[in-house]
Symmetry: C2
Subunit: 304 residues, 2 copies
Amino acid sequence: VVSDGPVVVLAGGTGGAKLARGMLDVVGDDLTVVANTGDDIEIYGAYVSPDPDLITFWLADMIDSRGWGLKDDTFHVMDGLREIGVDVWFNLGDRDLAIGIERARRLDAGERLTDAHAAITSALGIGARVLPMSDRPVRTRVHAAGRWWPFQEFMIRQRAEGEVLDVDFRGRRAAAPTDEVMAAIRTARAIVIGPSNPVISIGPILALEGILDAIRASQAPVVAVSPLVRGEAVKGPTEAFMRWAGHPLSAAGIAAAYDGLLDGLVADEPAPPLPVLETNVLMDDAQSRRALAERALEFALSLN
Amino acid sequence: VVSDGPVVVLAGGTGGAKLARGMLDVVGDDLTVVANTGDDIEIYGAYVSPDPDLITFWLADMIDSRGWGLKDDTFHVMDGLREIGVDVWFNLGDRDLAIGIERARRLDAGERLTDAHAAITSALGIGARVLPMSDRPVRTRVHAAGRWWPFQEFMIRQRAEGEVLDVDFRGRRAAAPTDEVMAAIRTARAIVIGPSNPVISIGPILALEGILDAIRASQAPVVAVSPLVRGEAVKGPTEAFMRWAGHPLSAAGIAAAYDGLLDGLVADEPAPPLPVLETNVLMDDAQSRRALAERALEFALSLN
């Protein structure tokens, strides 16, 4: 049964954002992205949502070539902070900061995170939906090098160094998925898990109370796109987190990380007994992003 | 009795800041400025102290030629806010914002406003002291055009238009002057009230519980520099506020606004029976700022 509901992409960082951008070419405003908010951080008076913003900047074709932040953004506030002696460990462009400041203002005024982010995507001219996974705080923390780190600090200050001993999504029990997320999953035409780190990028989304049941109850086929290319992560510290989770760095490992949730996997190697669409999962230009999105969607729909 | 204590300048906006800059040339780090915080505003996730910052930027020779903000500052965050649909009524440069962001961070971490501002003046290389009048919030509000306005909104959104029907320094009863302000007044060599609006720039300082008694009890001579040149305010809406307070726009009116507090006045016309140093009070270059500060201080010391 193929519904005409949204194509739902679950996304964390860059891999998921690129796939979402490709999917936008394929299904237009029928795209709904559910974005990880476990990396959100309140800093500089702003509420910064790294993953929802990364996805949003990709969808608006405003992502900078450095791989994060807004195209051609300046960094004058960060310069100003350094000039008065602040240790600026978390770098944020001026226009990027403006987005986080406005989001914080809306939250302070009582808006839900969902609505605050919708106002931003709308202002940037995006018709598709980018849904924060929850309106309540979930904070990814990593136990490594003798302490617990908030995720951004682990990635930036600790340069993701040290064996990962534990991972925690603080607040997840009190943080339900939003009504918008649940409705998107319930009515989805297909659910595509982006090529993001299964443990720390997609993990926080799947850790929310009730979301696994909702995905299983949905009529939609569920496929994941592997973040691995020839057994290596394209970007980020996937290996250390997969090792902690006890999964090999392979298509089979990715499938295992999603623990029976998938109807199929898009990867560059088989992962029996799961149906796998074997294809190149690299997305280094607009054409390959669109092509991968299209093939992943067709594959998903073929599984229904 | 001439002590070797600080020269204390009470200052609001530009006039007081210019006099303070001149006084810095005369007495160096013996200068202590007590700054009005009634115009402070929390906006953009920052804690902005317009008067303490204006004074600080003047002392650091970092004031921009537009008359406020930091020299050669950019406005990219404001541009970014406008680009996502925010009505930016309060303009703030990027480096200016950085200062307000860092001040907010320090306040959130439990620091006193006095210490937060001291960290900023110190980072900017200022040896003299710029003391916020209180560590507790005082907010100047203006009743005009049918409503009460927070001061900055009255000045910017309402363009200071409309008859001033009332003025209120909200919070003043709970906002004691800081120990640093009281100590500076107690040990002052001289107290010089800058050429600022007596009602809304100096008024909030003098409205703090106990400060008038402290000034009267101090051994220091107290002089004010008139903000009027040939019966007109050099800058800002002094006339409307003086009219509300029932004082003419003249040296005698300025003297009356300070209600018996002054030992002398520096102005361009007499104000009998008060001793007046008749001189040009315009400060349009570094030389005239220094000269006026020097003459005001000599005059004050001559009255002791």
